[in-house]
């Protein structure tokens, strides 16, 4: 379905060159839910944006249904993109359009007549369970509702693939669970292949069939979720899966007491807090707000 061959993406800013994605090859099968997991800055977003060529790889090839996208013309690429829906951490809904109008957008792009697209949008609203919000504007929706709208919009053109870049990272645990359930349902009901980018192992664990662990722009290991999670081989995978084992060698999984602390914005003050914890031998884990 999707094949990435030796994808490399470099960004050159001023005098520094960053290799965000470094020689990544992947094969995603039709109908599966594929997870790409890694810490913030690993290059996951860049990689997924290479799939629909929002980011043009510096080197390597992207194949979608056996067509090479990296060499496709503008028009061909646009047609391919209509077969690949994408959803984002920040939802990216059109704020001046209602829920229904948002879902109609990709159909307008395809020049579908108004009556048909309204009918299609209504079907999708039903699928994502948002019928009663059809005429609401995004500013009046909760995060979960916004993501449901975004999913409906991404599915409007009947895509083969749905790319999800941190789709649940801005949501609370309950909304996260319901969005994941919705994605699973879409995968099973419509047979849509789903690629999920996340920095949270629970997300991948819950719905993915296979997973690739990424750090420093490279895939560290990949395979069936069960295998990777039971027997993580790479350091990154272990850090992601067994986050309770820190460098100091404290007991894994032995959480004495959990407490949430908000770190100050200021980098210097942040370091003071970190140092305080370290000196008092208090184990701590810094959350990643988004990625």
């Amino acid at each position: 379905m999707i094949r990435l061959e030796h994808i490399t993406k470099e960004f050159s800013s001023k005098n520094k060159k960053i290799t965000a994605v470094n020689d990544v090859s992947l094969h995603i099968k039709k109908g599966e839910i594929y997870g790409i997991i890694g810490f913030s800055g690993a290059g996951k977003s860049t990689l997924v944006r290479c799939i629909n060529l929002l980011e043009i790889p510096t080197a390597g090839r992207v194949y979608f249904e056996n067509k090479e996208l990296t060499s496709a013309g503008e028009k061909e690429l646009r047609t391919a993109r209509q077969k690949m829906g994408m959803i984002f951490q920040q939802f990216n809904l059109l704020e001046q359009r209602s829920v229904l109008e948002n879902i109609c957008y990709p159909l307008e792009i395809e020049k579908m007549p108004k009556k048909e697209r309204t009918a299609r949008a209504k079907e999708l609203l039903e699928l994502v369970d948002m019928e009663e919000k059809a005429n609401a504007y995004p500013s009046r929706l909760s995060g979960g509702q916004k993501q449901r709208t975004a999913i409906a919009r991404a599915l409007a053109t009947n895509p083969e693939v749905l790319l999800c870049d941190e789709a649940t990272s801005a949501l609370d645990p309950i909304a996260t669970r319901s969005i994941l359930a919705l994605l699973k349902k879409i995968n099973e009901m419509l047979g849509v292949t789903i690629i999920i980018i996340s920095h949270e192992m629970q997300v991948v664990e819950q719905i993915c069939d296979r997973v690739a662990v990424m750090s420093n722009g490279m895939i560290q290991e990949s395979g069936e979720v069960k295998e990777v999670f039971l027997n993580p081989k790479s350091k990154t995978a272990r850090q992601l899966i067994l986050p309770d084992k820190d460098e100091a060698g404290l007991d894994a999984g032995r959480v004495y007491r959990q407490m949430l602390i908000e770190l100050p914005e200021d980098e210097e003050k942040k370091n003071l807090v970190r140092e305080f914890f370290r000196r008092n031998k208090i184990y701590f884990k810094e959350g990643e707000n988004g990625a």
Binding site: N52, L54, L77, R78, T79, A80, R81, Q82, M84, G85, M86, F88, Q90, N92, L93, L94, E95, Q96, R97, S98, Y105, P106, E108, I109, Y137, P138, S139, A150, R153, A154, T157, L163
Partner: protein
């Protein structure tokens, strides 16, 4: 105040509104494409093009940095070519548009910059063409900000139109100069100024109400 004076002021108001509104419309017809081009050819734009961005930027800055009165005089031959005369309100529209269009272009550009780049990216991911992104995403998403910009532009153009009264333009500005300044009729001067303030205030009040009603973000 006599009947004659009333009629004179009524004519002044009519001419001022005519100049301001027509100039604003034409300035936007030119300013929107200019602003859009400048925005989309910028570094992060959807049609990145340094040469075009740079050229448009130079052109905009050049006209914008020229004092209006100088511009007014400098383009007199052009004005005569276009409307056949250089006095009266129709002739004033020419320099007003020339002065306002680059200003409008910058306003438009800054409104477009407020559009969430993520939304543009989402539109790209759905296979939109660049043109579709411009007229289906950028402009509609920036609409409230663009409308607020129209109000500011109108007030500025109205001020310029009054200035044009000095060199043969029509409207309230001309009345203020001819009666208030040359003939020392201070009362006329005050009345025209009050009328100008009133018009600006009215535009602003009514306009802002419309703007906030069209904005779907609240």
């Amino acid at each position: 105040m006599n009947q004659q004076m009333m009629e004179l002021l009524a004519d002044g108001i009519r001419e001022t509104l005519y100049m301001t509104i027509v100039s604003t419309i034409i300035a936007y017809l030119a300013g929107i494409p200019l602003g859009v081009i400048s925005f989309v050819t910028d570094k992060q734009g959807i049609c990145k093009n340094r040469a075009v961005h740079f050229t448009v930027g130079i052109f905009i800055n050049l006209v914008r940095s020229m004092p209006f009165l100088i511009l007014l005089v400098a383009i007199i031959p052009f004005t005569r070519l276009l409307v056949g005369t250089t006095i009266g309100s129709t002739a004033t529209i020419v320099p007003l548009v020339v002065a306002a269009a680059p200003y409008v272009a910058r306003m438009v550009e800054s409104s477009l910059k407020e559009v969430n780049p993520g939304v543009i990216e989402a539109a790209m991911s759905m296979g939109s063409s660049r043109f579709q992104i411009i007229y289906k995403v950028l402009l509609p998403e920036a609409k409230p900000s663009l409308l607020a910009g129209v109000l500011i532009s109108m007030a500025t153009i109205l001020g310029y139109s009054a200035m044009a009264g000095f060199v043969g333009g029509g409207g309230l500005g001309a009345i203020a100069i001819n009666y208030g300044y040359y003939r020392y009729q201070t009362d006329i001067m005050l009345i025209t100024v009050a009328l100008l303030v009133l018009i600006v205030q009215l535009f602003q009040e009514v306009g802002m109400r419309i703007v906030s009603r069209t904005d779907r973000r609240r």
